[in-house]
Amino acid sequence: MPFMNSWERKIHFFKHGHEFGVSSEEEYEHMADTFMFGDMTPPTQECMRPSLVDRLRFNRRNRHFGVACVVPVFIRTFYPVNPMKIARHGGPDSFFAFECGRVNL
């Protein structure tokens, strides 16, 4: 599944593409799609936010984090979380629990 539109893909790639070392929008989107909609590898966790609109995945090993809207289906964002942010929340589990419970978006 793609980003919401080409503009969203472009600007998210511009902001986060270099953090993954990818060189094209297509490569970045494919990486995000695989992460959000592919099979989950063991260190990856998944949850739905209380709104039941956003589905989240977080890989605690490489800190990859993605959010996808489920109706309609598209990728909202995909980026590696800053380790300082994870530490500020008290570790990977606390960080992901916080993100899963967010209703202030």
Binding site: K10, I11, H12, K15, V67, R76, T77, N82
Partner: protein, 133 residues
């Protein structure tokens, strides 16, 4: 429908400043960056990094400082040079060869031609008494 960025005050966001949309002006990703920092902190970080346009081409004659000034987030006064004041930090901007240039903190230039710049200069002159007696 256009929306205003609560960080840089760019008023033509194509989407609301929520749900991981990214401001093309300051680069703030809403839901991500503003979970780490307040809008005020992000604004200060954007200003101190030069208030550059983030993504794509800016609108014609766009200037980040003038955008913030128009929204009331920075003060400009005119006394032969311009003093830009932000949270106690002052940056002098002097007119040289038809342009304004910062002389400390961060680089900033405004081409001094066209009706918009004249308008801002007049507004700055009008505020001389209140900000720089």
């Amino acid at each position: 429908m256009r929306y205003r960025c609560p960080v840089c005050m760019y008023d033509a966001l194509p989407y609301p400043p929520t749900d991981y949309h990214i401001c093309p002006c300051c680069g703030t990703e809403f839901g991500n960056d503003d979970e780490d920092f307040s809008h005020e902190q992000l604004r200060e970080m954007w200003i101190t990094s030069g208030a550059h346009w983030f993504f794509g081409n800016p609108p014609p004659d766009w200037n980040g400082f003038i955008q913030l000034y128009g929204a009331g987030f920075i003060l400009l006064s005119f006394t032969g040079f311009i003093v830009l004041s932000f949270r106690g930090t002052e940056t002098e901007i002097q007119k040289e060869s038809g342009a304004l240039r910062t002389i400390n903190k961060f680089e900033y230039s405004v081409p001094f031609a066209g009706p918009n710049q004249d308008f801002w200069l007049r507004r700055s002159v009008a505020e001389r008494g209140s900000h720089n007696p």
